[in-house]
Assembly symmetry: C2
């Protein structure tokens, strides 16, 4: 009788969605992916019990990476011990070890066999088996017959093979001889089909071109070499997204890309986030007030004539505006504007206009100060102020005094979800109109699909914007908050801040169990992070990010508190799936 199994990566959702779907379709068991466990609020024992209730076995736990032929066998075995603990709780008896992709891995089959035998020995003591799989892109071991030679040489009863049709057939490896492997040494078989695909330069050219400034080519150098050419400069961009989005916007985006290559008025220095404004209504307004008060903000100012409030803490300023018409869904809040302090606001406006940023009336809505403003691609407003005085005059003091609250010092970054059709357009807009530098682009698999994030900043990182987009999401599934906006504040002591503020987003214990193993952090450090729901990341040079999140308020807005050390320059993207699953769980349980 065939036992049928499905890996949790195959389907969308958080672990509860995935298990329910697998059981409903009649599967006998699952492969549990570590990431699905990490973002789950269920303990491993609870997962085991849920699977038992659903009639699902946990056939495999995976992946365990970069183990064999390592120069650091003791550390690798310690990492494995953590997995064994989790597996014992889960009641899973087979661990997938995929062949190493590490640059440090040695090309030494004897060493690989010896270390895998040692791993199998440690596993066997806990009733666990090791299924060794050759990844098609493994550094030294990337064919099934190579992995089989190593497993044979290791000759340990708790060590066998995992055979994955993708890794074998994608390389067009011969199958001859695979039938001679003793069945008891095949611990696991994974099936996947795939289309024949290639990304040769033709495919790249026909589907993925971008307008100048949106990609990685050095077009200034290219054009610099053609300075005597006086014919037309013509954009020829084959792009699947542009092929299906509003042509008027695409054409403006295209024109901006050419203008930005030429002489444009210089971008004045941007010095600070002056304030961030949310449009609110009668339901979302009180939610955000409550949230801000919980974060230690003070309602310091009230607009002299409009239902507009100023909330402050240190140099963090948030405006709640009940007079803007932006929150289209009743009860929701929406980031309606942000203001940047410019060395020359008028010049910022001139540059923006030269780059086709739609200018907005200089006085509009509730703001009476004459600030230069332009419309951003997502429909929000960007204002340029010279200094605080030019907008603060609109507000009458409430008498409440900002006492520094929870130690938030300034705005670290804005997180702006972009509409799919306009992600590259938005990037070029922020880069060119504001004169920001483009930082890295990251992609990650989140519970409800693939995400891309791309960040922009001033050279001194005073201003940081992180754009995100769901790369493929369509249809009716994806029940989470799909396009939240967020505002991140900096603190110099996130633990003190965390002590001082209201409830934050609960982070699963599984996350911390993994963190301990992943970064070899001391138990007490991990415990301290866990207690406050603080997430952690570390870059290659040792720079650290400690950050925490609030729940979602007003339907689509949340806040983040970050502490950066040692020049950490990213945004903790690796933790975003944890945050997204936690927001989903918070919503379901509220």
């Amino acid at each position: 009788m065939t036992r049928r199994s499905i890996a949790t990566v195959c389907v969308s959702g958080t672990l509860d969605d995935k298990l329910a779907a697998a059981a409903a379709a009649g599967f006998d068991g699952i492969e549990l992916f570590e990431n699905d466990l990490i973002v789950s609020p269920w303990s491993p024992a609870e997962v085991r019990s849920r699977c038992a209730d659903l009639g699902l076995s946990i056939y495999l736990y995976q992946p365990f990476r970069d183990f064999e032929a390592t120069p650091h066998p003791a550390a690798a075995l310690r990492r494995a011990e953590h997995k064994f603990e989790v597996m014992a709780e889960l009641g899973a008896d087979t661990l997938l070890v995929c062949s190493s992709v590490s640059a440090e891995a040695m090309d030494d089959d004897d060493l690989a066999a010896e270390q895998l035998a040692a791993l199998a020995n440690a596993a066997a003591g806990r009733g666990i088996r090791i299924a060794y799989e050759a990844l098609a892109w493994g550094r030294h071991v990337n064919t099934w017959d190579h992995s089989w030679r190593i497993v044979r040489a290791a000759d340990h009863p708790a060590l066998g093979l995992c055979l994955d049709s993708f890794h074998i057939l994608s390389r067009s490896s011969t199958l001859d001889g695979i039938e001679d492997i003793p069945p008891e040494k095949i611990f696991f078989v994974q099936l996947a089909d795939a289309p024949h695909l290639r990304m040769d330069v033709l495919q790249w050219s026909r589907h993925h071109r971008l307008f100048p400034g949106q990609g990685s080519f050095d077009l200034s150098d290219f054009l610099g070499r053609l300075k005597n050419y006086d014919g037309p400069l013509s954009l020829e961009v084959f792009n699947d997204v542009f092929r299906q989005s509003d042509p008027e916007r695409t054409a403006v985006d295209a024109m901006r890309s050419l203008l930005a290559l030429e002489e444009v008025p210089a971008a004045p220095e941007l010095r600070a986030h002056a304030f961030t404004e949310f449009g609110v209504d009668g339901r979302s307004g009180p939610e955000l007030q409550e949230a801000l008060r919980g974060l230690g903000f003070t309602h310091t100012g009230q607009h002299r004539s409009k239902p507009v409030e100023l909330w402050e803490q240190g140099a963090c300023r948030v405006i709640l505006n009940s007079a803007v018409t932006r929150p289209r869904t009743p009860g929701t809040a929406s980031l309606s504007a942000f203001a940047l302090t410019s060395a020359d606001p008028a010049q910022s406006g001139v540059r923006a206009e030269a780059l086709l940023a739609p200018p907005l009336p200089r006085t509009r809505g509730p703001r009476e100060a004459e600030l230069t403003s332009v419309a951003a691609p997502d429909g929000s407003t960007i204002l340029f102020s010279r200094d605080d005085d030019d907008w603060r005059a609109d507000f009458l003091a409430t008498g409440e005094i900002d006492t520094g609250g929870a130690g938030l010092t300034h705005t670290d970054h804005l997180g702006l979800a972009q509409p799919f059709d306009h992600f590259d357009e938005a990037g070029l807009f922020y880069r060119s109109v504001l004169g920001l530098t483009q930082l890295t682009t990251e992609e990650y698999a989140a519970p409800f699909g693939l995400m891309r994030s791309r960040a922009f900043a001033t050279g001194d990182r005073t201003i940081r914007l992180a754009l995100t987009v769901a790369l493929l999401r369509r249809g009716d599934w994806a029940p989470a908050v799909v396009d939240p906006q967020h505002l991140a504040f900096a603190t110099d002591d996130i633990f003190a801040t965390a002590e001082a503020i209201g409830p934050t987003l609960p982070v699963p214990d599984n996350y911390y169990a993994d963190l301990r193993a992943r970064f070899a952090l001391p138990d007490e450090t991990v415990e301290r992070l866990r207690r406050f729901g603080i997430l952690y990341d570390r870059d290659a040079t040792g720079g650290e990010l400690l950050h925490l999140y609030t729940p979602v308020f007003g339907g689509r807005v949340f806040f983040e508190i970050v502490q950066r050390t040692g020049g950490y320059d990213a945004f903790g993207e690796t933790n975003a799936p944890v945050r997204m699953a936690a927001h989903r769980h918070a919503r379901l349980s509220s």
Copy 2:
């Protein structure tokens, strides 16, 4: 003063959309892509005049392919003459010739130079210049310096270079020396940026795996080699679409993929399309009646108790059902069911159920005959009948007699637009549940974005289904009918049929002008096709497809009439963009 230009491929829509967008964004001119002209109802002279009205120059007409170093220079020059005629009408003076990708092209720079000089000479006589571009994937010529050596050798004033940043920078070619090209020999400069991209096996694995039976791997062979393995068979499929679609459906799809690999009840022979049913309402019903009458159908039967009509012509049967609840948008029609004649309907149902096709009550809605039925992934119903008698008994003869009408003989195929999330699922469903063979998958750039089509058929081609999906379409743009369904009838003489039927979808004259050049068809053949709006395709072995379309009725349904000769086995996918643009124009002008 820089003249700024944009290729019409850069933006979405039909030519009118593209020109309006380019002008609104302030471009000075355009590169006109042949395909945009071909699908346009405007003559070249009208395009010229429209561009003039908008202040747009036509800087370049493109592409002209596979010219240089050809063994058939006379035929290639004749093709070029056609382009020159079109360009004269357009008032465009520069033709892009991209380096040959033909397997027939010879690796002979002298011959290339000689032929390009001859082409330039012919062009110069009409005031036209030739801009020669090295494609990054050109067969012999794929670097800018190689194209420059050939242009220098040809030494003709009407021959120069087109330099495209993509083709140059994607290959990381050196730019050294490019500044020494005399400016007068650089006829055109095209700019595109691009991200660094690769589709290595890692990317392929992490984003594009499929469930067994949905891709190209031979998993039966793979599993056959592992017949002594008795552990779980586990699906491990990383797929961006599945990551973001309804997990319950994905899990069922996954289970079906495993079941189909194992022993399932045999698929009984399918012998014919018995009928196709459309759900209609008070507005779409009369539209479809009118359309069917226009195609020569006769209203032969009336359901004995329900508002259900049978329309016939030869072996083509269409049922209009006003009792189904499917047309959710008032005024629209929707394909609600189709029936296939099976050698063993009960067994067809048993197999479908074994493969998790949702069974439907054996009698439902207006059909009183007991037909086995299952639900298709798009929500429509598939019925299995033994012969016509088992469903025809529901209908009373109206007294109207089918006299063969317009010569339509039988149903050639159904065209079923699929929801994006479920395209691969639908393919596996039709392949496994009905036991159909998967034919080729085609992708093409349509006016409103990239399309994919995948066809399934019985071995004898009695039953053919063509599934289509818009690969990326999201957001609010794409004003055309985005997911039409269609029913294609066969004829043995499409010209006689075309004479006999009502108005068909107008096809642009530009299409026929191109057809003449592309297939070297006699003028009188092209004129005959043009007169009736018949589209044409020819396969590599000389098999031909002649086909024509009706307008869209009931919001989302159209009909096609096809005549296949010489074993033509495809669906004229190359003409689909023409049809899509024509449907758009018909809508706008109605």
